[in-house]
Subunit: 289 residues, 2 copies
Amino acid sequence: MDERAALDSLAGRIPAAGDDCAVVDGSVLTTDMLHESTDFPDGTTRYTAGWRAVGASLSDVAAMGASARAAVAVYAAPELDEEDLNAFVDGARDVCEACGAEYVGGDLDSHDEFTVTTTALGRTDDAVLRSGAEPGEAVCVTGRLGRSGAALRLFATGENDRANELFRFTPRIAASEVIAPHAGAMMDSSDGLARSLHQLAAASDCGFAVDTPLPVADAVGEVATDPAEKRELSVFFGEDFELVFTVPESELDAIREAAPVAITRIGSVVESGVTLDGDPLDDRGYTHG
Amino acid sequence: MDERAALDSLAGRIPAAGDDCAVVDGSVLTTDMLHESTDFPDGTTRYTAGWRAVGASLSDVAAMGASARAAVAVYAAPELDEEDLNAFVDGARDVCEACGAEYVGGDLDSHDEFTVTTTALGRTDDAVLRSGAEPGEAVCVTGRLGRSGAALRLFATGENDRANELFRFTPRIAASEVIAPHAGAMMDSSDGLARSLHQLAAASDCGFAVDTPLPVADAVGEVATDPAEKRELSVFFGEDFELVFTVPESELDAIREAAPVAITRIGSVVESGVTLDGDPLDDRGYTHG
């Protein structure tokens, strides 16, 4: 059974699960495990690892339209090197500070592979689910796609400073505060834009007609010249932690004006089918290890 | 740097950490990672693993005097076997149900060793810290000590049914509700009674004079006959998840009457030093892997 099949099998057994966070009377809660071999390429600093791991959980909080309150992490490594640990905690604290949350510690553990589990807590009285999209709404993304895919290429060629910088994304908590009151459905793009659209479509029982040009990070152009490769990095690779959301067309201008990040309308909610420039968009993306 | 030195090094950097849970405006949050090699002996069922892993986090919530609201878990295994996963989730749900909390899912992951990270969320407006013990108070424990140590011996001899049963402890959420309004200081005995007393003493700047007989689980007598071995299992081994707490002597009867579990007065809070029957009690216990 792969991860997706297992999640499907559990969906009926745990009603509160199945969105970016679980919702429990006004709180939202989310947890993720990341591993060195699959999530932190050679060259990733421990500061970046702390920022990115905790940021991934804060991104799930943003995806629910919630404010971020606190985060904890379990740090497990073959040995507990003080400098590494302090750098990790600095990254974790700084990403929390960037989101108005408090980093409140966690647990330490010995483990053969550097492994991190992060958990974030948020608050909202009106969570935005994946299931609220309505045909006729606009579908939008925050920021630009492809940063993480580009970072991976840069890590592979040893351009580690630039790669670390791209890896330290800003969780869209502040943008979410502006978007959430208007949004029909929302999630983050951690599994890639294509997977996110298919997941929103399945949860909302709708489709999406998306058109190029998409907002693509400049870094994608730096590492890829072939159009197919650019598309792979920006549409399928994922791990970008941007928000993908639907809103009534009439509210788009107000959101764009108030949001602290670029909001791009990439298409419309339709009755069924997920298309890019009229062609079916594959339901595939990054399967997290 | 071992885990204890690393925790000490972090204590100054993360003010909210250092107790059983972090406290964030009315919420308490705790996270722990457990591994097959160090926490789930051969013979532990996946149902027991789910119960015990989530129970350990719920025990931390109880140790703060908080009510338990929700728990999540990351389940990471070499392969995602449906039966194993469902058994784990059943155990996680059942221990939550026993504590009035909701199991709201989490994350799945591939990992070379079966590894679980659990996180629990609780609520209290008046958290009981490790730092509030005052000389003259009584020091008490809930339930009986040594269950987990005895279980380990039984796993080793293949008495798995009885061992699994002992491994599925009841987190003391209901007892905590009765104790918390009266308690000076409280924590759980996950690192053993001796370590817990030393940690409470350090946090409260006090000492403890503890006397035998201590409340010891019947199972300890079944697996150990030598008095030194019995003491090892009940005082030092830990992993029992009972509450260790201090209260004014005058309130002890009322607590005993209302608590849903036996409360044993094991000694008194004193100015300094931790003793058992007048002899210094070693500051050692189970160091979690």
